[in-house]
């Protein structure tokens, strides 16, 4: 026999899962773990982006660098590059932490509704078992 209430609840659950895939995947993490993972991803992508920018500047100044290769103040340049990198990384990390923690809290709130239907489904199953 088809149980209409059960189908109703299951449809709602499936709809939610279909629409909010991100919430579901987020719910698998603890908040700290989730934020840590996102920060790690950010660090990798910022490093890549910064490296590419440096590469482009390097090629742009290639002629200058080659001509002054011996007299160049490598330590000074290295310090500047490193400082900018650390500042950039710091800014991105802070923003990532703020945004991700907001996103996580929001997804938790959304999930509360989802869990309500899950509980209802559970109750339907338990009632079914009692009937049998």
């Amino acid at each position: 026999m088809l149980n209409n209430e059960k189908i109703n609840v299951m449809s709602r659950l499936a709809l939610y899962e279909q629409k909010n895939k991100e919430d579901i995947s987020m719910s698998k993490y603890y908040k700290t773990d989730y934020i840590r993972l996102q920060v790690l991803k950010t660090v990798v992508s910022v490093t890549l982006g910064y490296f590419l920018i440096l590469l482009m500047i390097g090629i742009y100044k290639a002629e200058y660098i080659i001509s002054k290769a011996v007299t160049l103040d490598y330590v000074g340049i290295g310090k500047i590059i490193l400082t900018i990198y650390i500042l950039l990384l710091f800014a991105y990390t802070i923003i990532t932490i703020l945004v991700c923690s907001y996103k996580y809290d929001k997804s938790r709130r959304n999930l509360a509704g989802y869990y309500k239907f899950l509980k209802r489904l559970d109750r339907i199953y338990q009632e079914g078992q009692i009937d049998e």
Binding site: M10, R12, Q18, S45
Partner: protein, 354 residues
């Protein structure tokens, strides 16, 4: 005005009914236009310009998420540039990678903005993007908008650089690269455009959040004015040639488009028909979930001269329901559950009426 409202309701009804077919068709047409515009603007590779290939790519984008269209468009552009000059295509790849890893990664849902701006630039109405974004999104969209402007100017510069290109020895290659980089960094127009677009987004956003009647429409006007003023000022002070006539016309068209989009937004931004499938221990379920929205607007307009004749309670309540429904539509947040309860309530009242 009433006619337009009715038309909107009809359109919504039609869309809801045939959403499954309309969506891919719209996506196909959009993709086709995008690819054709890219071809006409930087079509250096004859192979990519062939109609079967364009049709095939459009067909592919019609049935895949919008991210695929963006990727295909970027790949196609790079392919065209590659056919012209390898070094220039490498520059584009590098810059796209930088833009992605530093900016776009954080606003993944707004990737289409980056594509929309260069494409609409070709149609002379890029101003519609910041206006619409200010209307419906948050100021964070400044980031993808700026990226879109950068991408447009990048391709513009590269198109110009093609004329400079000579036989590619290593020195020339370096020269070409320095040239493009110089033009990109020293491009006042690029930076001014980014700033003006950011201003448009912020102004439109602030005005539409204000609490007075027609805030959305006034926001569009404010955005358009900001745009015109911004470009006029940039013209005066920075000595940038902006083609004022084209700009003002484009802004006006953009403003009108913004109002049209705003008008249909409420109608189209609803919870559409959803298809889900799941299973339990006994059955597989293929569920089509249709949200309960009564699309019977014309009934509201029926003027009955002799209401005592055949004007049942049922009709009266139905009309009332429709009216209430329309008020509810103003509330953008439509929930299945709430709808359900609401309709139940309506049916109860119906029973009482009899």
């Amino acid at each position: 005005m009433m006619n337009i409202l009715v038309f909107r309701e009809r359109l919504r009804g039609l869309y809801q009914k045939y959403e499954l077919y309309i969506d891919p068709i719209i996506k196909f047409v959009v993709a086709f236009i995008v690819f054709q515009l890219i071809n006409s603007s930087i079509g250096y590779d004859i192979r990519l310009k062939k109609l079967p290939i364009v049709l095939l790519l459009s067909l592919l984008s019609a049935f895949t998420p919008s991210g695929v269209l963006i990727l295909l468009a970027i790949l196609m552009s790079i392919g065209h540039v590659y056919a012209m000059s390898k070094i220039l295509s490498i520059i584009i790849i590098l810059i796209v990678l930088i833009i992605y890893s530093l900016f776009l990664r954080y606003t993944p849902k707004l990737g289409y903005v980056v594509l929309a701006i260069p494409i609409l630039y070709l149609l002379k109405i890029p101003y519609v993007v910041p206006i619409v974004l200010g209307l419906f999104a948050a100021p964070i969209t400044i980031i993808p908008t700026s990226c879109g402007v950068i991408v447009y100017y990048l391709f513009k510069i590269i198109k110009d650089a093609q004329n400079l290109q000579v036989e590619a020895s290593v020195e020339d290659t370096l020269q070409l690269y320095t040239n493009v980089a110089n033009q990109l960094v020293a491009n006042k127009q690029l930076f001014v455009t980014i700033i003006i677009f950011a201003c448009i987004i912020v102004v439109t956003y602030i005005v539409r959040r204000m609490k007075f009647d027609y805030a959305h429409e006034i926001a569009v006007v404010a955005g358009a004015l900001t745009c015109i003023l911004g470009f006029l000022i940039s013209n005066l002070f920075f000595d940038i040639d902006n083609q004022i006539g084209v700009m003002i016309l484009g802004t006006l068209v953009s403003g009108i488009l913004g109002i049209v989009i705003q008008f249909f937004h409420l109608a189209l931004d609803y919870t559409g028909v959803e298809y889900v499938q799941f299973e339990d221990e006994d059955y597989y379920y293929y569920v089509k979930a249709v949200p309960k929205i009564n699309v019977t607007t014309p009934q509201i307009n029926v003027k009955r001269i002799n209401p005592q004749k055949k004007y049942s309670m049922k009709d009266a309540i139905k009309g009332r329901n429709n009216l209430e429904n329309r008020i509810r539509e103003e509330d953008e947040d439509e929930d299945y559950e709430e709808d359900q309860e609401y309709i139940d309530y309506g049916i109860d009242r119906n029973g009482d009426g009899k």
